[in-house]
Symmetry: C2
Subunit: 499 residues, 2 copies
């Protein structure tokens, strides 16, 4: 029923909004209520210093070259930066920051620039420090599984490097082909493997970061247990580049599992999704790597816009389960018994399962490519929310009702295993009025259900002004004190997180 | 060979040192080079305030009542505190700290007082704030596995509460019968399950802490993913009560495994221990919960002093392996195949395995009770060290050679899976000269092997002065700035961590 309604709205949507794909976003400073901070402007003398430090080839000032650094992945935001610097070493980052701090030049640190909340996109004319040339692996202790690398390494490259050595990176996400580990750490990226391997606060063994004043902090320990003094590395995990620039990372990697199974299931309702999740934990907790849900409108979007196909036909909800383990036969038996039991109990209506990697990848596309399909669906207001599982899908129902015919698609998908849903509202085009209609209403609803308004994407630019909804005044006060202590001139990533 | 030497020395040791068991330690302030800070002394007016706040029954001033709060678990340290306060609520903790901060009274926060480095033991006359009456469970979300409780809950009580609900606490350690979760969090306790469940930075979802000035910080989120602002809870995980008093904790608990197996193996050398560890990871990574090593002198100590017995006879090294999973049959098959393969490859000489909980507990006693046996072995200098696995046991060999006949037992046991060894040096009795002979030599050796001088015990009082060996001046400077920001009067747990 739900699905039919969505489909009807969609047909219209598809026709009207397709042309928006390659549109050029307005300057953020014009679209949003934001005032430039009291920073100096980049002048010739500053450029001369940067040239002497990096040489001409690692400074970009041509505006067309700057496009990809100024415009976010979703093409919703546009900074007005005039310069990108590409250091190769920690020392260069340190010198750049020392100089910018002294001359009061605002700085926007940038990794793969794949964030969803504008955390790495400049707002005004910040100096962009791109870590893309800091892409070396420093060392790998194969036996202990400890990888140490520079911040600009692309996640997928790291995982491929590890795969050849029988190891696996504990983090995986849709943007893996572009995102960089420094950005992942700075945003405390979550993604698809948190259920099995936990979060970066647990998996990052050590890091190196440069403070606003250029001081290099060496927290590069490589021990699973190290209780010598305050655990200050965590200040840099998830503070989105506002307290320092992460330059190196040491990560605890895991043994690459020998066996992998992916199941794709069709279900009647969200209640059945939950029942299936609890059953999966009971039956195969130790091999459960991912448990993802996709609702019908999300599936419709990704299949219709990207020419993919559901391998099992149409259902109100879909679940993607991945298991990994050390024993192919045991895993297969567990998965099959689980599926049989789910069918018998009527938790699921249909399902397919594969142990072949290529087929498994094909199924994962259905889940991972959903964000790519946003571009073909008008303007998409995106929310990344944590909710207690009992309320997990209720928020989508609420927002669908609230939006009425103002939206042609309200949909949700995400990581059930972590209580994390990605909720989208597709509209014809961006307008401040529409934004005000949706926000902060959606955040109030989230709060009503004891949820968090940012699960894994961070606050960045787009959510910063709602921080007070999630944090007490005492916490915000402490955040401000920490910021003041670490970056008294406020040069690091202004207009983000704390505003 | 090694074992025979140790045995010979031990016979003497047993005779001479047994009377030391119930000895009364000297005042720490007399035994160590430490100067009282510029704090006020507790006076009648202060007592009157505490009485009005807590009533007579929750204030201890009788010195015999104070014994267990002033003397550490190992009976090596003795504080000179005159008062213990026992708040029941966060509000009371807040009022106590506000008052102490205003009146410049130093404070020593204390949980179960089971630490090994004197982190919770007062040094001079600090006001002890004991959390032992803050022992309520606030809530449990059974489906999500999220337990929220006050800081004074005893770890074993929490695990038993969870066991009845089919859940398991992600932390387990020898002191579980006495240690409190607030102390566990404040010291970032490691223990026996880190290999499987990771550390507290990953498992603590949220906490509440009171700052030195009485301000309550509510970080009590219950989401696995929550990227709204700085992740400041980590400042309180492992800072040993020097930045605030943890009052509530929310922890991600796991589903209680249905199947448990414990194997106890005898091995010829440490190289064989490592080969067995790598093989265990290859063969049964997803069910491997613990991989512990015990050397012959450790086994000799625990069996001879506590009347326990090795179930497999005498070997140079022993390994205890625990596996847990969802399928009894699969797990048993994996464990048996692994053991057969280890025997065939001559990794192990002998072994026993059980799937019965009572027998498994019996085997665990051999490992968990080793620290209890220290008391019967003279004065034991204890070290808790992280080392790359290739150097893991080398440090024990080094120290045995270095000590020569100055020690009757140099021995090591610990968590191979985390690279964490507990290294002990037993001598006749404590003397500052002996301490100077051992330290900092042992820490220099540790550093030479790229190790950490505190894996899971923290710096506390006993290791604080060696912080500079592990942290750069820039890091220590930042630690000092954080301490100054959070506790400008320095009332919280002085003489610990940062000195």
């Amino acid at each position: 029923m739900l699905k039919n309604v969505s489909r009807a709205l969609l047909r219209e949507g598809r026709k009207v909004y397709k042309h928006k794909l390659h549109s050029k976003p307005n300057f953020t400073k014009n679209n949003y209520d934001v005032v430039r901070g009291n920073y100096n402007y980049v002048e010739e003398e500053h450029l001369n210093y940067f040239r002497s430090l990096l040489g001409e080839s690692r400074i970009f000032t041509d505006l067309s070259d700057l496009e990809k650094y100024n415009v976010d992945w979703n093409r919703y935001l546009r900074g007005a930066s005039q310069i990108v610097l590409k250091p190769k070493t920690t020392e260069e980052v340190s010198k750049i920051l020392t100089f910018c701090n002294h001359h009061r030049l605002a700085v926007s640190p940038q990794g793969g620039h794949t964030g969803m909340v504008g955390g790495a996109t400049p707002v005004f004319d910040e100096v962009i420090i791109s870590t893309e040339l800091m892409n070396e692996i420093i060392s790998l202790d194969e036996k202990a599984g400890i990888l140490t690398c520079l911040a600009g390494c692309v996640l997928q490259n790291l995982d491929e490097y590890l795969a050849e050595r029988n190891l696996i990176f504990p983090l995986d996400l849709g943007a893996k082909g572009s995102c960089q580990i420094g950005g992942n750490v700075s945003t405390n990226a979550g993604g698809l493997r948190v259920l099995k391997y936990g979060n970066l606060h647990g998996n990052v063994l050590g890091l190196e970061a440069v403070q606003a004043n250029g001081v290099v902090l060496d927290f590069l320990t490589c021990h699973k247990k190290d209780n010598t003094g305050y655990h200050l590395k965590h200040l840099f995990i998830g503070s989105e580049g506002t307290l320092g620039v992460v330059t190196k990372v040491a990560v605890q990697c895991k043994l690459r599992p020998k066996s992998l199974h992916v199941a794709f299931l069709g279900l009647q309702s969200f209640d059945k999704v939950l029942q299936t999740f609890y059953k999966a934990k009971q039956d195969m907790d130790e091999i459960l790597t991912a448990f993802e849900v996709i609702d019908a409108p999300s599936m419709d979007l990704v299949t219709s816009k990207l020419e993919l196909e559901s391998p099992i036909g149409d259902y109100p909800f879909y679940v993607l389960i991945e298991t990994t383990g050390s024993n192919e036969e045991h895993d297969e038996e567990k998965v099959n018994q689980f599926l049989e039991s789910c069918l018998k109990k009527h938790h699921i209506l249909n399902g397919t399962v594969t142990g072949e990697i290529s087929k498994a990848r094909g199924i994962w596309q259905l889940r991972e490519k959903i964000p790519e399909a946003f571009k073909y669906d008008g303007y998409v207001f995106m929310y990344d929310i944590s909710l207690p599982l009992d309320h997990y899908y209720k928020l989508v129902d609420d927002m669908r009702e609230y939006m009425g015919d103002k939206s042609h698609r309200v949909y949700g998908f995400g990581h059930i295993g972590d209580g994390n849903i990605h909720l989208q509202i597709s509209v014809k085009e961006f307008s401040p009025e529409m934004k005000s209609f949706i926000e902060p209403y959606i955040f109030h609803q989230t709060k009503k259900y004891n949820g968090s308004i940012s699960a894994e994407h961070g606050m960045g630019f787009l959510k910063a002004k709602y921080l007070h909804m999630m944090k007490t005044p005492e916490t915000i006060n402490l955040m401000k004190n920490v910021k003041q202590m670490m970056d008294p001139n406020g040069i690091l990533n202004p207009y983000k997180v704390l505003v």
